[in-house]
Symmetry: C2
Subunit: 339 residues, 2 copies
C-alpha cells in the first residue's frame, strides 16, 4: 500500500436553514481532504459552479421534488470541471465533465455520475451550466413542449433577463412568435431585452402594476406565458390571456424567500371561460429532449442567432454571496461562480 | 289577412343585477303575447326549464364566455318542450325539442335553433336538460378529455351531488377509477354519494378544513380533480395531488356570489414540483363528443348502471326561487322547473 496523495477541497455547507432571504451566517466555508479515486471513480477539479433559484427550496426542510440539503453537509448543484485523476474506464485526465457535485472546488465521484462534454470553440465551459445545460433545456422544453408553443403565438416571459427567461424569449423569436414580451427588474435589463436579445417589448415590473404594464405591452393579449416568478405576474398573465392560452409554470422566485403563504392569483377563475391550460413542470422530466435541444440551440449559438449572457463571480468564498445576489436579481443571464 | 291567434307566454326577466346572492327583487315575472310562427319558425310549449350555476355569471354586466343578460329582457337558458305550431319543414306539431329559449312558458323561435330529441321509454324529457344534455356532456368531456382520466386514477369531484358532479363520479367509477371521492354540502348528500351513486368516499365540506377532510378521504393522494367549486376546494386538491395530477376547472360556484376576490388557492406553486396540469374548459368546445357521449351514457342509463337525480320545482313563478336555491345547494342532481 502507498500513502495516497491528498487533495484539499474547499466547500460550502449549509450552516442554518434560512428564514426568508438567506444571509452570510446561513453558510459555512470548510476545507475537506479528498483521497485518490477508488475503483470506478474520478477526481475532478471544478472550473465553474452553478447557482440556481431552485436551490433556495432545497434549503428549507420540506418535502419537494428534490430532497432538502442537510445541515452541516456540503450542498450539491451543477458543476463543470476537468478530470485530474481517473480510476475508471471511459474518462481520462483532461476530460471536461458536467456533474452534480457543485458548491466545492474539487469532487471525488463515480465516473457514471459525470458526463463528458465537448469543449466548443469560442464557448466557455460554463455554457454547460446555462444555455447548453439545465436552464437552456428548461427554456426549450417549457416553451415548446409544456406550453405547446406554435408559430404566431404572442409570448410573455417573466424573469426574462435570467438564464431561463432570456433563452425562452429568443427561442420564441427564432421559432416565429407573433410577439415576444419580457419582464425584468431594472431599466438596464429591460434595455438589454429589447436591444441585444431582440424582444419586441419589455417592462420593469417595479414600475407599477404588472397587470397594467403587461396590458400596455401586449394590447392584443397573450397566448403563452412562461412563468418564472408566480404571484402578481401570474395574475397579470391570467388577465391578459387570450382564449386557449397556455402557461408553463416553471418557477416562483417571487415566493422563494417568502415566510407567509402568498395571496392567490385572485383571478384563477378566468381559466374556465378562457379555457386556459396551466402546466407545472421540472426539467428532469424532459431529458429525452436533450439531443434535439443541443442540436437546435447549439446551432443557433454557433450561427450567432442566439445570444446568452453570464454573470460571473470569482472564487468559492464568494459563492454564498453570488447565490444571495441571484435571488435578489443581481444577475443578467446565467449566474456562475468561476474557480 | 286573418287575425292571428295569440299565445300568452309568462316569462322571467332580470329586473336588477344581483349584488352577491340574488334576491326576489332582482327578478320580474311578466306576460308577453306571442303570435303564430312566421316562415321557418315554430311555437313551442315548454315542458321543463333549466336552472344552471353558469347563469349567475350572465347576470353580472361583465364580459365572459357568454354575454351578460340584458336588464328588463327575458333571460335565456336550456329548455325542452313540445311543438304546438309549426311553419317550418322538419318539425311538426307534437315533436319534442331541446332549445335555448328558457325562463318562459312558451317560445317562438326559428326551427334551426331547436333540436328534435327522442322521447325515451321511462325517461323524463327533462333528462335532456341534465344527464343527457349539457351537464352530462360537461361531466363526460371534462373527466375523459380535459382531465385525461385513465383507468386506476383516484378521482376527486367537488359539488359531487350536483348535476355535473354526480355524473363525473359515476362515469369515473364505470370507467375503472381506482377510487372516487366526492364533496357535498350536507350529510344527506354525502350519504347519497356513498350509497346510491357508488362513490368510495365522500365528505361534507362544512364539517371542517377541506384540506384535512380530503386527506382523510384520499390518504394516498389524488390523480384527477374535477373542480365545480374553486377556492378552498382547489387549494385542498393542490395539496392532495400526486405527481402529474390533472384538474379540470369547470366551475367556481363558491365564488359566483362573491363580491370580493377569493383568497384561495394560496398553494398554486405546488403545481411546479408536482408537475400538475390545470385546465379550464367550457362544454361548448366539446360538442364533437356529443354522439359518443349520448351512446355511452345513454347505454349506462338504459342498463341501470348510471343513476341520475333531479330536483323538480313546479311553476314558472317559482323559477327565481329554484335558481337561488341552486346557488345555495338545495338541489340533489339536476335542478329543473316543470311547467
Amino acid at each position: 500500500m502507498t500513502i495516497s496523495e491528498k487533495t484539499m477541497s474547499r466547500e460550502v455547507q449549509l450552516a442554518a436553514r434560512p428564514q426568508g432571504a438567506p444571509k452570510d451566517s446561513d453558510f459555512a466555508l470548510v476545507g475537506r481532504e479528498l483521497g485518490q479515486p477508488g475503483e470506478g471513480q474520478v477526481l475532478v477539479r471544478n472550473l465553474f459552479l452553478s447557482v440556481d433559484p431552485y436551490m433556495r427550496g432545497r434549503m428549507n426542510d420540506v418535502k419537494s421534488y428534490t430532497p432538502p440539503f442537510a445541515l452541516n453537509e456540503t450542498m450539491t448543484g451543477g458543476a463543470v470541471g476537468e478530470v485530474i485523476a481517473s480510476n475508471a474506464d471511459g474518462l481520462s485526465v483532461g476530460d471536461l465533465v458536467l456533474h452534480d457535485q457543485g458548491w466545492r472546488t474539487h469532487a471525488l465521484l463515480p465516473a457514471k455520475a459525470a458526463r463528458r462534454v465537448d469543449a466548443m470553440d469560442g464557448v466557455s465551459p460554463s455554457a454547460y451550466l446555462g444555455i447548453l445545460g439545465m436552464p437552456g433545456l428548461t427554456a426549450y422544453a417549457g416553451l415548446l413542449d409544456v406550453a405547446a408553443f406554435k408559430e404566431g403565438d404572442v409570448v410573455f416571459v417573466s424573469g426574462a433577463a435570467g438564464a431561463v427567461g432570456s433563452a425562452v424569449g429568443q427561442i420564441a423569436r427564432l421559432k416565429g412568435a407573433g410577439r415576444v414580451i419580457g419582464s425584468a427588474g431594472s431599466a438596464d435589463k429591460v434595455a438589454h431585452l429589447t436591444g441585444k436579445l431582440g424582444f419586441d417589448a419589455a417592462f420593469n415590473y417595479k414600475d407599477g402594476s404588472v397587470t397594467k404594464l403587461l396590458r400596455e405591452a401586449a394590447p392584443g393579449g397573450i397566448d403563452v406565458y412562461f412563468d418564472n416568478v408566480g404571484g402578481d405576474h401570474l395574475e397579470a398573465a391570467l388577465f391578459a390571456f387570450n382564449t386557449f392560452g397556455r402557461a408553463a409554470l416553471c418557477g416562483a422566485i417571487s415566493q422563494y424567500n417568502a415566510t407567509e403563504a402568498p395571496s392567490a392569483p385572485r383571478n384563477l377563475g378566468l381559466a374556465i371561460g378562457k379555457q386556459l391550460t396551466l402546466k407545472g413542470f421540472i426539467v428532469g422530466s424532459y431529458n429525452h429532449l436533450f439531443p434535439k435541444f443541443v442540436q437546435e440551440v447549439g446551432g443557433w449559438i454557433a450561427s450567432g442567432q442566439l445570444h446568452y449572457d453570464e454573470t460571473v463571480v470569482e472564487g468559492i468564498d464568494h459563492m454564498p454571496g453570488a447565490f444571495m445576489g441571484l435571488l435578489d436579481g443581481q444577475n443578467t443571464g446565467k449566474m456562475v461562480v468561476k474557480l
